[in-house]
């Protein structure tokens, strides 16, 4: 099908974008990469009267790496962030997760910030942002505000963002030195939305001469309504990096609440999440460093 008619706004500056959103935001939508919004418009599940196309807004297309974070502007494509070597060097989790986001053709157009604003429970990057304890930079007619990732998501496809507000950028916080990460998921076809997925961050200390795990956290895809961080420290602390991580099951099961759908039952998703967590811990402790 085709979208219903709309008025297209193409602001060139952030001020213009904020002004036009202030006027039409309540009857309009921000258009970023369009890889989630345009399917919805094509199927006429939404018929906004205005689209505020931010693709030509100057200054939103940059990735900035600092000592504390990786800042990603609103029009940075998934593929650009995935291929950003400086970002990968300080936060490998970004590329590890982005390779699981859709197919290359979708990643070439879709934006990382857009997927966070969209807040799909099956999206990888909302969970990654939460796992890094990141921040969302919001701008609107009432000025700027910053929202901690854990407070941003309210439900599936629901965030604290007001209709006339725009996400200017997100900041993925860097982990402490010695933290190792991995991202794993299970999908029916490579690039499809995950049946379940997990990102892990594992703290490793080598103070005693041997590499020992001191803590671990996990964030999930497709098994929680909103991204949550499950602390696995109690089950893993003190163990050598070469362990098998059988003890994490209970903590994982308690931390998630998967829904059933045509692809998998709730029970199956639980088992999958636990198994993926074990494998991700193994991958992180044996391969990944940050």
């Amino acid at each position: 099908m085709k979208p219903a008619p709309f008025v297209h706004h193409g602001p060139r500056t952030l001020d213009e974008a904020v002004a036009v959103l202030g006027e039409v935001g309540h009857d309009g939508k921000v258009l970023a990469g369009g890889q989630s919004l345009i399917p919805v418009l094509n199927m006429r599940l939404a018929q906004p009267a205005h689209l505020v196309d931010i693709n030509r807004v100057a200054g939103l297309d940059t990735v900035t790496v600092t000592d504390s974070h990786v800042r990603v502007g609103a029009t940075v494509r998934h593929a650009e962030l995935e291929k950003h070597d400086e970002a990968y060097a300080v936060l490998p989790l970004l590329r590890q997760a982005l390779l699981c986001v859709a197919h290359p053709a979708i990643r070439n157009r879709g934006t990382t910030v857009g997927s966070i604003a969209h807040a799909d429970a099956a999206g990888e990057m909302p969970s990654v942002l939460v796992l890094t304890q990141g921040v969302i930079e919001v701008v609107g007619p009432r000025g700027r505000r910053e929202v901690a990732a854990l407070e941003f998501f309210e439900g599936p496809l629901q965030t604290v963002l007001e209709a006339d507000e725009l996400v200017e950028a997100v900041r993925f916080a860097r982990f402490a030195p010695g933290t190792r990460t991995a991202f794993l998921e299970s999908a029916r076809r490579s690039g499809d939305y995950a049946v379940a997925g997990v990102g892990v961050a594992v703290d490793v200390s080598t103070d005693s001469g041997e590499a020992v795990v001191t803590g671990a956290r996990a964030a999930y895809v497709s098994v929680t309504d909103i991204p949550v961080v499950v602390d696995l420290t109690d089950a893993v602390a003190g163990q050598p990096v070469s362990s098998v991580w059988d003890g994490v099951d209970e903590l994982v099961q308690a931390g998630i609440a998967p829904e059933a759908d045509i692809h998998a039952s709730s029970e199956y998703r639980r088992m999958l999440a636990a198994e993926l967590t074990r494998r991700a811990l193994t991958r992180a402790t044996t391969e990944g460093t940050a």
């Binding site: 008619p5 890889q35 053709a105 690039g191």
Partner: protein, 174 residues
């Protein structure tokens, strides 16, 4: 499609296969429809219109993207390449040639999307493994072939590309 909107149309100039085309369209005109209806370049196919099948994939500044998930107004100043821009019957591009040699198509509905996707892929990865070849086409659906010959065509296309890049005496592309 006739204009049945509130009367708002815009002039849009999009460069397709090296030629700048200007048309007056509604902002809601999908790039896929701009290419097929307004420019009559029907090589680009439309299957699902929600990004899943890959039939509508075109190259945007050299990168594969879904033309059903872009508006023509957003493609202004961009260089679009469709399957028509990747070769002719007499002088086929490497991917087209490989599809012929490997029997990579049956009905051909999915083929334009595969050809554009694979063209960009072998630019980025000139000597892929068969596993990488499979991964590269995982975002495109084909209901006929069972994919095996398409995987072979990816590897063969990369090979043809390398052969053509090696300077020989004649340098005849076909």
């Amino acid at each position: 499609m006739t204009d049945i909107d509130q009367g708002t149309t815009v002039d849009v100039t999009v460069t397709v296969n090296g030629i700048a085309h200007t048309r007056t369209v509604e902002p809601r005109r999908l790039l896929s429809d701009f290419i097929r209806h307004d420019l009559r370049l029907t090589g680009t196919h439309v299957g699902c219109e929600h990004g899943v099948c890959g039939a509508c994939t075109v190259l945007v500044d050299g990168k594969p993207m879904r033309s059903c998930l872009m508006f023509a107004v957003s493609a202004e100043d961009m260089e679009i390449t469709t399957v028509e821009g990747l070769g002719t019957q007499d002088a086929m591009g490497p991917v087209q040639q490989a599809f012929v040699e490997c029997h990579g198509l049956q009905c051909g509905f999915c083929t334009p999307g595969f050809v554009t996707t694979i063209t960009a892929f072998i630019e980025e990865n000139p000597d892929p493994t068969s596993e990488e070849a499979r991964e590269a086409i995982s975002g495109n659906l084909c209901r006929c072939t069972g994919y095996q010959n398409i995987c072979k065509a990816v590897l063969r296309a990369a090979e043809i590309n390398r052969e053509r890049a090696t300077p020989t005496e004649g340098g005849d592309p076909a």
